[in-house]
Assembly symmetry: none
Homo-oligomer: 199 residues x 4
């Protein structure tokens, strides 16, 4: 029989998720012990296993959920943008930054703990990541076809853009000198200048 709504089970599962994001982000996956995680959650190590199958499965779930959320959200953002290529590229950049500013831990983990994912898990996440990269490549290609974008190599440009955009998430702090919107403006300006075709 199902437990009451808001039962401890659901609360604990959410707490595990939150605590593991925090600890993996801080120390890395390999360096986070399940003892530490349990302590952070306020539970015995054995109790974690009522909610996760394995340490590895926990990591996979975190990373996959993040990637799927990113893809879904990006598609929604682009769907709400006019079809003009430069506008769409800029929308992609802005969305990437704003989405990631709210999910610093997840971004970092999704990028740096890929190597901690075992075989099939890694493959599945890499597939999602490639889908995301390709969506930016497509936007750049559309820009090139429309004659408003000029890069020496769309794929390399896409990677460079993603690296620059993702880099900022590592050091962004809500309490920092610049607001999110300012950071968006600075980066889109810099990068749009970098790829815009010049008369």
């Amino acid at each position: 029989m199902a437990r009451k709504a808001g039962s401890n089970g659901i609360r604990t599962a959410a707490a595990i998720r939150r605590a593991s994001l925090k600890l993996i982000h801080r120390h890395g996956f390999a360096a986070m012990s399940l003892r530490d995680l349990a302590a952070e959650v306020g539970v015995q190590p054995a109790s974690l296993y009522n909610h996760i199958a394995t340490k590895q499965a926990l990591l996979f779930d975190l990373v996959r959920d993040h990637m799927e959320g990113l893809l879904t959200s990006t598609e929604a953002a682009l769907a709400a943008t006019p079809p003009e290529p430069l506008a769409r590229i800029e929308a992609f950049m802005a969305h990437h930054l704003l989405y990631h500013f709210e999910r610093k831990q997840e971004v970092y983990i999704a990028n740096s703990e890929l190597r901690a994912l075992e075989g099939p898990n890694r493959a599945r996440v890499l597939a999602l990541r490639r889908r995301y990269e390709r969506s930016l490549v497509s936007l750049l290609e559309a820009g090139e076809r429309a004659g408003v974008v000029s890069t020496s190599d769309v794929k390399v440009a896409a990677f460079a853009i993603l690296a620059a955009l993702t880099g900022v998430c590592v050091w962004y702090k809500p309490s920092g000198r610049l607001t999110k919107e300012e950071l968006v403006a600075i980066h889109t300006t810099l990068l749009m200048n970098g790829i815009r075709r010049r008369g």
Copy 2:
């Protein structure tokens, strides 16, 4: 099990360095056990301690040596460049890429294993890294003063540039589609376009 021959000491020390770069790059510092390292070197775990003080000290040495080499080499490269601001910025970018292409493992480790460095070690490395970042910031400021560079924020621009430049090292492969020189051209073009003041 007699010893091989001659002064194996130096050879072993070098092998440890090489093997640890490889293994840390592949699995991460926390996930690399000294057993694995010893096996890769072809020696018993206990023997590592004739060459390293501690696992932590090994990591610190690797990262510090890399950072110091980078700083020295960058200064030399700039010293050999004419004082024109744009030329110096481009030289910095080109040097960053070419130096790092040859040291993929080191870059990655220096960036992703900072959190594995304990207290004072981390501080020392962070200081070196800040010195490097500041040298790019200075170049950008000189460009602004000379009226040839325009960024919304030099510091943010510098971080974005470094992130974009460093990102390529993660995926660069000598056997890839593009040569090192082509990658340098693509990135300097993209990023110089991003910061050059426009008439």
Copy 3:
């Protein structure tokens, strides 16, 4: 997850008994986890405790029930046999084999998991077992008194006979080369020859 139907209680209890015989026989008592048992029964581990008090109590019940059944059945078989000593000994042997052929798992468990029984439980089972051994010893002694049996030592002979008879249950398979009746014939012949007084 609604319940199946009707009074599942009894059915579950029987299923636990069946499944635990199977698993203890296959893996041993210590190596059978209640998780495995629950899975075999098709129930959650916690549900087992509606039917058993304790893992230890489960084992004790299985073993005691088996021993008591064996004693009861043996007494019934002897009661139905003429008082002639050799006939009674042979009847004992045949009954031992036929009873055990139908209860391979129980025999094995009753013999090999004695050490898993704790203190008082072990004592109680050992008492039952000794009663059984003594009943064969008595038959042999009656034979000696009647001058139709000759062993160097009745107790040792009884143990050797029981060991030989029980041994066959370990490897007996219904689908094997020989029928139960053939195996009974072979063993009674062999062992009766072993103890019969010779002119």
Copy 4:
């Protein structure tokens, strides 16, 4: 460089062997924890791993070594016996008992912990065991051919004999009522009578 003769390494390895025989015999393999074993040896649990690869490997080594010793020793005993079939069978029986009286723990373990051996390990041990069984079967067959032995089925007879002989080891105690030699006499008499062809 090798350690001194009689170094602690060798002594510890032997102590582990001795202690594990004792504990497995007493509690069973699954029920023996490596903590207990280490405590019995007088060493930390981690130190066991300087001498064993795995708990499973330890069991396998114990059982295999026992079986190989049994085979070697049996062959030697038969080689020293005249070719007369009955004499050889009796020599086999006597050797089985005397060899096993000195190795109560090993016999028990080799018989009852077969199921604790995983896949290939079990197969290897079963092969050794079958070789031993076959050697008795061969002796019986030779006896049948020479007209001095009569069993309904040599294979079944061999199993019954081995079961009877092995059974005694379970309860034999040096301090018991009967000497080893008496037990040998009792059993060989009983069993030789069981199989000898009668005029």
